[in-house]
Symmetry: C2
Subunit: 368 residues, 2 copies
Amino acid sequence: MDVEYDTPLFFHVMGYAANADRDVIDMVSGNPDWEPPEALRAGLHEYADLEPDRFQYPPSPGLNELRAEIADRRGVDREQVVVTNGAGEANYLAMARALERDAGSEIVLTDPVYPYYPGKTTMLGGQPRYVPTDDDGHLDPADVRAVASEETAAILVNTPNNPTGAVYPPETMAELVDIAETHDALLIADEVYDHFDLSGTFESALAIDADHRIVTNAFSKSMAITGFRVGYAVFPPHLVEDAKSRHMLVNVAGSRPAQYAVLQALRETGSDYYAANRDLLRDRVDVFTDALETAGAAYTRPEGAFYVMARFDGYPGTLANVERLIDEAGVAGMPGEAFGSSRQDWLRFALVTPRVEAAAERLATYFE
Amino acid sequence: MDVEYDTPLFFHVMGYAANADRDVIDMVSGNPDWEPPEALRAGLHEYADLEPDRFQYPPSPGLNELRAEIADRRGVDREQVVVTNGAGEANYLAMARALERDAGSEIVLTDPVYPYYPGKTTMLGGQPRYVPTDDDGHLDPADVRAVASEETAAILVNTPNNPTGAVYPPETMAELVDIAETHDALLIADEVYDHFDLSGTFESALAIDADHRIVTNAFSKSMAITGFRVGYAVFPPHLVEDAKSRHMLVNVAGSRPAQYAVLQALRETGSDYYAANRDLLRDRVDVFTDALETAGAAYTRPEGAFYVMARFDGYPGTLANVERLIDEAGVAGMPGEAFGSSRQDWLRFALVTPRVEAAAERLATYFE
């Protein structure tokens, strides 16, 4: 077996921006710049003084209380929940499960796509199969149905979506589950931006009663702790044991201080924390898109998640152009080509800096 | 592709012991019961108050300062070090790299074996090939040479060894590297118990200059923090980039609070901390083996690591007997059969409880 897979470009672009010989506004990756919940910091302090036995392996699928708290909030059985090393591992486990079922080797992905998905697919021995979204990032289930076959192992979608900002309506998700069931495939819904639905229309795929559906999530974005690596997957009962085995054989367990702090934060953080961050993001969307409008750029107004895609005439979304923009305008984004062939003319900007307005002004000045 | 793999028995036995209707001395898994370094607790407290940007993704292969500190101590280049989610992920990455080189699909393991190794091998699409050790756990390189072939992808050994307590001499390790090089295979040395060499003879495989050798390790045992999940692998330069890609695609990165605390502890903890824990373990070995001697049991005196294997006449090391011992003697060990066919008559006891003497007395009384 000889496997090749690409490293996503994020780290390259961030490194280039960090080494630039000028002030650069970093809008590359989805790292929140706002405060984590106060209870999360308190939880870490509390953990640091516990007895030595609390510093040892947590249960492999996660601290019991954390799994119970997640299960309770999501309306599922605790046994269906595997606490993972972020959404990254959650998606890895879900995709591995889909490909090991002897029910196809293709994973249906969207174009544009979150760049880790194709890499994971190839690493796991599967083949990506792309379905284009429309211009605003929405997915027509009929297009998915047209490519689905007995070769389909999984349909993997991300909603609210990175990079397009689309929030898929409940009817789309129900149809995707139906297509998965028709071909004995799995619908994997990565809902890591669920707390950043700006449209008010998001509904979790857990609302659909199905045994061919896996939902992945993490506290990385909702609690502004991408570095803690605490996520989870909710599996149908008949798939969870094998997923737990792979989790154990790859990672043994997740990191306990991080799980403990997240548990405290889950218990003690009110909805106002999440609402305030959504409001902050909504304001940034307004400021940034207003400036893009003034600059005459084409852009998407996100229904959710952290990102705005923009297109400037005669300035395609190549890596070379992204580097030029860092050097000459002092704004770092991601090249659209990193997300697939359909967005090669576009750039993606993450709204995770208080300097969104300054960034928009720099872009307007540069492209005027 | 249809993959099957077994879940190690540890969690089953620990659960059985926890639910027993009597006081049970837990000697099942290798969770240290002693204090972590003081600087580790201080590091967590310090981390908890940092700015939000320090709560975001660390570099995928680990915090720069942590990689540098590890590289410095191990005498390797920082670029060769990948900080992992414990030794579990380090071994997973090393084995994946061996199997993806298109240079064989067999992984040579010892019998007895650490139970995660065969599970990882099978999960990664490889075939385990077992070489028996001698009665005291030592490995004759000639036996490895006899089974090695162009089908050999890797030779994976653990020294100081779990479960036998053997410490492989430097000549053995040099021969294993030579065998690996002969067949374009990789020697993977899991040295997670390196700080618990009681024999004074241990030498890291890093001392051997070779590009067919990967060393894995973790702070789980040396700092008594199995639940933090901070480990690392040292790869030859030509193998490290692919390992980093897989690490990124599976986990994105490790958990940052844990890495930060480990970095502080590495910097500020003197050799007296490690020496004191070794002394504690040495005392426990004496107490436990003395009692086994009195009880007329056969046993191994470990040269390193945490474990003593014991054999009681007419009481083979089956799961049923382990459960009976929990219920009737109040001592929980691991069944020898979990470690392979050669130790089916044996039980393994982890010396990670202050009640080692009481446990030995319970065993002596039960078997007298």
